[in-house]
């Protein structure tokens, strides 16, 4: 068998989703955003909703998310993506709208917007990428930074007395009656990537079925600002973040009463 027989469209088992653009990603090597972007492109393509989906990108590293997925996008001000998405979906109820937000964007400056959009049960999807740090501005403390974690603004580690506590906002979101599906995922292994894709698909389906807000937290790494190799960052995430940000479904109204909520045990 020659090489040209092997490199043949019939043998193709994995390819770039058509919705991913040819633009070179600006993300650092080892960053989780690239994987998550790909999953989103796959899900939107698989569901065939590219002509009615509008993404809302945040301020932060994913500010340029619109450069990479071939759909309509609006770029929101810092933290305001849920309000922008509300405006789109309320006046275009037949469209599919999602926000893509980081932890500084969603859990700090945009806390009011995310809580109220979820509490109103806006029919939209929230992709919440939580890497416990401000990436774009150079590694400052985020609301989700763990106690003891070193960042540019907590050089001796986050201290509860000085800096307050890390915020598990997804646990708060899960208690809101407007949310239907609230889950915490990760993309650090092939198995978790596949699981995360299923969660994103389920979230989009819930929005299409007008079940309220679906919220997918993806615990992620920022190896650059954590000052670790990508592999080491994944290990650090599993060891340190997962005990506090426990992966799993926090709420699934297709199984339970939408008002029900069970906190995950750590």
């Amino acid at each position: 068998m020659e090489l040209k027989d092997i490199i043949n469209p019939n043998n193709l088992v994995y390819e770039k989703p058509k919705l991913l653009t040819e633009n070179t990603m600006h993300y650092c090597p080892g960053c989780s955003h690239g994987v998550i972007h790909r999953l989103l492109a796959e899900v939107i393509e698989d569901m065939g909703i590219q002509d009615k989906t509008i993404g809302v990108s945040p301020v932060g590293c994913a500010v340029f998310a619109y450069n990479y997925i071939e759909i309509d996008w609006q770029e929101a001000a810092h933290g305001r993506a849920p309000a922008v998405a509300t405006g789109i979906v309320r006046t275009n109820p037949d469209k599919v709208v999602f926000t893509y937000q980081g932890d500084g964007d969603l859990a700090s400056i945009g806390t009011a917007e995310i809580m109220h959009a979820c509490n109103r049960g806006e029919n939209m999807v929230v992709i919440f990428v939580n890497n416990g740090i401000y990436g774009m501005t150079g590694g400052q403390m985020a609301p989700t930074t763990l106690l003891g974690q070193i960042t540019a603004t907590t050089p001796n580690g986050r201290d509860a007395g000085r800096n307050g506590y890390p915020l598990r906002i997804t646990e708060l979101i899960a208690q809101l009656p407007g949310t239907s599906y609230v889950t915490r995922q990760s993309v650090h292994t092939p198995a978790t990537i596949r699981k995360c894709k299923k969660a994103i698909t389920k979230a989009f389906q819930a929005a299409i079925d007008k079940k309220g807000t679906s919220f997918v937290e993806i615990v992620s790494t920022c190896n650059m600002n954590w000052k670790m190799t990508p592999v080491k960052a994944n290990e650090w995430m599993v060891e340190n973040m997962f005990p506090f940000y426990v992966p799993g479904d926090l709420k699934d109204s297709s199984k339970n009463d939408p008002e029900s909520y069970t906190p995950l045990k750590n």
Binding site: Q50, D51, V56, D72, W73, A76, R80, A83, T86, G87
Partner: protein, 361 residues
Amino acid sequence: MGELRLMKGNEVIAEAAIRCGCDGYFGYPITPQSEVMETLMDREPWNETGMVVLQAESEIASIHMVHGAAGSGKKVMTSSSSPGISLMAEGISYLAGAELPCLIVNVQRGGPGLGTIQPSQADYWQSTKGGGHGDYRLIVLAPSSVQEMNDFVELGFKLAFKYRNPAMILTDGVIGQMMEKVVLADYIPRLTDEEINEKYGSWVTNGRKHNRQRNIITSLEMDSVRMENNNLRLQEKYARMEEEDVLFEEIQCEDAEYLLVAFGSSSRICQKAVDQAREKGIKVGLLRPISLFPFPKKPIAVLAKQVKGMLVVEMNAGQMIEDVQLAAGCSIPVKHFGRMGGIIPSPGEVVEALEQKLIGG
């Protein structure tokens, strides 16, 4: 001929929005403009025209909801009063930067800070010269009657879509709260999604269609040359507004020896002051800027060659006077008379100020 009614200014804003085919209103309660959303909620336009009305969690959320809906080509608006407009400043800058059309109504109250719920005109600078960050302009219309509250809703939207720029109705607690007769506009149907795609398909984000490229709405541009070009394009647009859409009214200016310049509710008081001054034998005229941006520079420059002095009457410490001085040049005195704190000047006070500051001086 439209329907004749006796209505409050704020209620008319709501009624005019429904009738002009507005797709959505997003707002947050604040005195003295709460009747706008109350009237909309009472009218339930979602049953009648399909218009969306949503009470947001804050003014910040309201303006960004407007951003989202405007970005999908919808005709949407918000209303607030001074402190709420300050909160919206972020979103207004983003709307201007992303070149999105929308209507913002500011029913002004006195400041700074929490100030007073009484009427004021102290947001002139905020409306016409920024408020938010960056080089941008709003189209600013100043109604002086309940009828104009009605008329400027559709006019504001028309100009906003003409330029793809936010438009503001800058009014105050006097006109928002007072009742006058008003001829309501006839109903204009809301645009269908097909019509939106046909008219605005080159920029709207309502789901990319097979027959068009995807659209991206953003004010972000990291390349300095391209960002400067974006700024230059905005400036060209603002220059075009100054050429094509300046609105003003001249009252008894033909033989005037002195000129009052006032907008909105102050101009109503000045109309009476003109009559009182003329009874005393002083030949006074009134120039009322209707569009505060673009500002009527040319008529003021023309009148500066005719009159002996100008008195700018505002319910603030002296804001529009700077634009009047720039337009008038240095050949004649341009003075200011203003009241603050929610105090509305009387016509007699205006005549007295005219006599003291210009004629006697």
